[in-house]
Symmetry: C2
Subunit: 228 residues, 2 copies
DNA sequence: CCCTCGGATTGATGATTATCAATTCGAGGC
DNA sequence: GCCTCGAATTGATAATCATCAATCCGAGGG
């Protein structure tokens, strides 16, 4: 593991509250592995063997029903994923695949569950993490049910801008076809949605997006009012 | 509280693992209140004062963005709701209103958080509950993103039938307009979806639905394959 | 530097869903 | 038993979104 990586992982909400000794047990029992791009890490329906922590790279979580499939989340470092499946020891509901070459910390699921049950602080952190994730999904579902495609894109851009405290510039991390799937639309309609937003304060140059007029975009996209 | 109610609440996943003394503290610190139909219990954005347990009646959880709003869940007794907001002490993301006259146990949020932090079994139960709720929402979001309206209705009927172990008869608990909103469509399209399903093994008589041909409906609706 | 290839864009068309309007249906009140 | 009112249904039309097809564009390889 490179210098500075352990601290970064230790700073994750999940591991932050553990005492140092337990954290060492996590690291000792885990594997840090490098994966090439476009590799499937696990598939929906499989039994969860590891909690995954993306240390470096980019990962897509997707799900399918019948023959259609959809991107559920784009995981950026440093973040853990599929905590719910590990906690409940129930099959993954999503398929994970690397988008770029990625380094991932694999923490054995049984170890995670064991430590959670030994360490109240960790259990509490897990509980809070799950509750926050739940709220995120509530918002995502409301988004999908109440907004049409260009509005969803507008809100996505507003959220991205808020997350990275910078000015108005947003760099898309992944291909637009992927963003389209994440937002529940086709690549063609994503293009059209971008051109709609160009009338509402958004400037697009390839994968560099600028929110030129925050007011106008907000008026169009009706972003969530409830904070956090 | 009527006879037999406490045991029923005590049987909830959340309270099942608590020791008797703590459970008594919950009941002692809570209020069982009766609400008339169509009453708003709380609104999205408010600070969560109580964990709610629906003892009797029917409650709708809805959310909105801009001027559109949508039904997120129809709560049947005996179930607790809005656990995530209480755990995280963050504003409600949904609005709750009674559909019928309802009796609801109101457990002060601060008390819930206090007991969770004192009682590891309760914390663990909460964690599992949240993880399961998370999985439920993942499925709901996939459903919304990958299936069209008649398929969503078909899957809803299949799930309802599975939940109540009976034969093929399903009784809709709420108005169809509400079901439409839950499934992310208009009442008009719900009607049309029902008539589509009549060609795929479903018989409709008012709010009595019969799945006459489970095979045919499954073939049409492509239900989830992953169990639990 | 040019070529190639896959993603992105644009246009045309079709499917799905929403909206508007008009009945029909059914439960509750008189 | 009839009336009334809101929900449910049905039909017609419009908006949104997907699909198909044809370029356009840009990064990587020769």
């Amino acid at each position: 593991m490179r210098t500075g990586e352990k601290p970064e992982i230790a700073r994750l909400p999940l591991f932050r509250e553990m005492d140092e000794a337990k954290r060492e047990r996590v690291f000792a029992g885990s594997f840090l592995q490098v994966f090439p791009p476009q590799l499937t890490l696990f598939e929906a329906g499989q039994h969860p063997d590891f909690l995954h922590v993306l240390v470096d790279g980019l990962v897509e979580l997707s799900a399918s029903s019948g023959d259609r499939d959809t991107t559920m989340r784009i995981v950026e470092p440093v973040t853990s994923f599929i905590l719910a499946a590990v906690v409940n020891d129930l099959p993954y509901l999503m398929t994970a695949r690397t988008l770029e070459a990625s380094r991932i910390l694999l923490v054995p699921a049984a170890l995670v569950r064991e430590l959670i049950n030994q360490d109240t602080a960790l259990m509490q952190a897990t509980m809070h993490e799950l509750a926050l994730a739940y709220r995120g999904l509530v918002r995502a579902l409301v988004d999908m049910k109440t907004r049409q495609s260009a509005e969803r894109l507008g809100n996505y851009l507003l959220r991205q801008q808020a997350r990275r405290q910078e000015g108005g510039l947003i760099q898309l991390q992944a291909e637009k076809r992927l963003l389209a799937s994440l937002l529940g639309m086709t690549p063609e309609n994503l293009s059209r949605a971008f051109s709609v937003l160009s009338n509402h304060g958004v400037r697009v140059e390839g994968s560099n997006i600028t929110i030129a007029d925050h007011e106008a975009l907000s008026a169009f996209a009706h972003p969530d009012k409830i904070p956090v």
